[in-house]
Symmetry: C2
Subunit: 136 residues, 2 copies
């Protein structure tokens, strides 16, 4: 993965867990992360798409967890959040006239998939509840 999507998403989920069902608005969350509220809302939209959070519009609105934190594992969060292949979604197009260039994209993809599976497996051994417990 890349950039800070995972960090931001996990930060959001941790905050939501800590306040146990209370609604938090994007400005508050952005204040904790120290980033832009719109970025938080975009990240929340994605977390919502994958069923991790619920949001309430309008005055007094905000977001809350849509699941029990013990049922949210970090591997699933990673998968929901990831947008590119792990080790560099090269839009690079190797030379098709070279025997190595011609095949390497496929071989790299296979290698990355395997490595990423190992990564996700490691993340999956922890739930949001576990992670969040470290803050108490």
């Amino acid at each position: 993965m890349n950039s800070s999507h995972f960090s931001i998403s996990l930060h959001i989920l941790t905050l939501l867990d800590q306040v146990k069902g209370q609604l938090l608005n994007s400005e508050y969350i952005a204040g904790s992360i120290n980033c832009n509220p719109v970025l938080v809302r975009k990240e929340l939209a994605n977390l919502h798409k994958y069923g991790f959070v619920q949001s309430k519009e309008g005055k007094g609105g905000g977001s809350t967890l849509a699941k029990n934190p013990a049922d949210i594992n970090l591997g699933d969060v990673y998968r929901a959040v990831k947008q590119k292949s792990l080790l560099g979604e090269s839009k690079n197009e190797p030379n098709p006239d070279c025997p190595v260039g011609k095949q390497i994209t496929k071989h790299l993809t296979d290698l990355y998939d395997e490595a990423e599976t190992a990564l996700v497996k490691s993340l999956s051994s922890k739930t949001l509840k576990d992670f969040s417990a470290g803050f108490k």
Copy 2:
């Protein structure tokens, strides 16, 4: 990790393995990768720093593997090549006045380190020889 350092380095190493000791110059390698020769030379400089390749300057110069491909494992290549933490080296500084913001960087780092260890372990199960054999 990120960007295409690993992809490029592995592409280089694979090419060098395929030609079995022949010297390849940066322009030829760049032609296979379809990128800039200077980028290849920088990547080679790094691979040299970690003892994977040898280079010869001057006319007729180029690079070759400095080790037996069976002794180069992909986890080591990954470690040599990686420059940032895996899941987003956020230069972001969360709010120190928030209980979550204050501690999350450390918790994320620990989590990433563990996940990355799993990733490297997966990559380490393969050598350059194994990888390169897929092209024959």
